[in-house]
């Protein structure tokens, strides 16, 4: 790989994507290569967290505040100084971070928690049934049991 290709990669402007892709790949490696079931579940959790952070980082704007309007803007809207009719305030969209990725990722966090809970309960049943949490031992026992197990 020549250095011109490396320089083209623009790591500094895309640093958030690089960090979260590395995190995603750590989670993916844990899901694929680890033998213990609990370690696989932790890999799944890391993968989900990396995707959530990836999406939230897309909505960041330079020098922007959090997506909550300041208290004095609301106060001025409800109690206008001189006039009698309240005028809706003029809000600049570039002053506030994009709220849409935050909202979508709230749903993703909740779904991730639910999935982890159900996966842990299934893992407990597997342990009660086969007395092991290592994937290779469970595969051997499943093949041994075959069709004559209740």
């Amino acid at each position: 790989m020549n250095t011109a290709l490396l320089a083209d990669l623009e790591v500094a402007q895309h640093i958030n994507y690089w960090v979260y892709i590395v995190l995603m790949m750590i989670g993916l490696y844990a899901m694929v290569s680890k033998n213990n079931l609990i370690k696989k579940l932790i890999g799944m959790s890391i993968f989900q967290t990396a995707i959530i952070l990836f999406y939230v980082s897309i909505g960041v704007k330079k020098d922007a505040s959090i997506p909550i309007l300041d208290h004095h803007i609301v106060h001025e809207y409800h109690h206008p100084k001189d006039g009698s009719t309240p005028v809706p305030p003029k809000i600049e969209p570039d002053d506030y971070a994009n709220p849409l990725p935050h909202v979508l990722m709230l749903t993703a966090i909740v779904v991730g928690v639910s999935t982890l809970g159900v996966a842990l309960s299934i893992t407990q049943r597997i342990y009660a049934e086969y007395d092991s949490l290592e994937e290779d031992e469970i595969i051997v026992k499943v093949k041994d049991y075959g069709g004559h197990h209740g």
């Binding site: 083209d8 990669l9 623009e10 402007q13 895309h14 640093i15 958030n16 994507y17 690089w18 892709i21 590395v22 995603m24 790949m25 993916l28 490696y29 694929v32 290569s33 897309i58 909505g59 960041v60 704007k61 330079k62 922007a64 959090i66 997506p67 909550i68 309007l69 300041d70 208290h71 803007i73 609301v74 809207y77 809706p88 305030p89 809000i91 969209p93 570039d94 506030y96 994009n98 709220p99 849409l100 990725p101 935050h102 909202v103 709230l106 749903t107 966090i109 909740v110 779904v111 928690v113 639910s114 999935t115 809970g117 159900v118 842990l120 309960s121 299934i122 407990q124 049943r125 009660a128």
Partner: protein
């Protein structure tokens, strides 16, 4: 096997990193997600006028995308039911070693006695203040459920089950979903679309404009979500820590 997994992960990661070169820059205001999509700009500028809620994230979550949030609440509820269904012993009892009984520790008891009411009060504040500060139904519900889990950790699970038994927890979760769906049905009976909160100003006492009706309906809906999340968080903990039998705690 591990080596093959490593090769696959490295190839995938490398391809994704090469593809990320074409993505918009970090913190770019002109990126397609931030600028060209008129929708997110409208969410920022029009939320205070149309819904009287300063927190744009809560407004989008509970009002503009309220249908999605309702089914998200149903997802949590189904996860709690699924955990109970998977773990509950039906025919035979498993022969697993039982944890030994211990007396509750004095320091843990005294500390939790001080902490639990404060946590619950703060959780209710987070639910109620979702309009003006980061918060809302999910965040407050998780904290309220965590306070019950702390009670179970300190005093033992049987004592916590006296206060929030499984029947009460599932009933609370169902009431939360029915509150949310009830708001939607109320708007349908008044003639508009499902979950179109604006029309509820006709039946709410003391509310004149549609914007204030939307703000108060958002609070009602978030309370329903908090009920469901609290109950299911505690039910998940109780079932996972006792392998479905709900007899002894950790």
């Amino acid at each position: 096997m591990k080596f093959l997994g490593l090769i696959a992960v490295l190839i995938t990661g490398g391809l994704m990193l090469l593809a990320s070169n074409d993505f918009p820059d970090w913190a770019d205001s002109e990126s397609p997600a931030n600028n060209k999509a008129d929708l997110s700009q409208k969410y920022v500028t029009d939320t205070l006028e149309l819904t009287e809620v300063p927190n744009m994230v809560t407004a989008v979550l509970a009002d503009y995308r309220g249908f999605d949030t309702m089914f998200e609440t149903v997802v949590i509820f189904v996860a709690g039911i699924a955990i109970i269904a998977v773990l509950r012993p039906v025919n035979h009892d498993y022969s697993l070693p039982q944890p030994d009984d211990e007396d509750p520790d004095l320091i843990v008891l005294m500390t939790c006695r001080l902490l639990i009411p404060v946590i619950q009060l703060f959780a209710l504040y987070v639910v109620a203040h979702g309009h003006h500060s980061p918060g809302g139904g999910f965040q407050g519900g998780v904290m309220l459920g965590a306070s019950f889990i702390l009670y179970a950790l300190a005093y033992g699970l049987p004592k916590a089950l006296v206060r929030l038994s499984e029947k009460r927890a599932i009933t609370l979760a169902v009431i939360g979903i029915l509150i949310y769906a009830g708001f939607g049905l109320a708007t349908q009976f008044l003639g508009r679309n499902f979950l179109d909160y604006g029309v509820l100003y006709k039946i709410m006492p003391g509310v004149e404009t549609e914007a204030w009706a939307r703000s108060h309906s958002m609070l009602g809906v978030e309370i329903g979500v908090a009920f469901t999340v609290t109950a299911i968080m505690f039910a998940i903990y109780a079932n996972l820590s006792t392998r479905g039998r709900l007899d002894r705690g950790l």
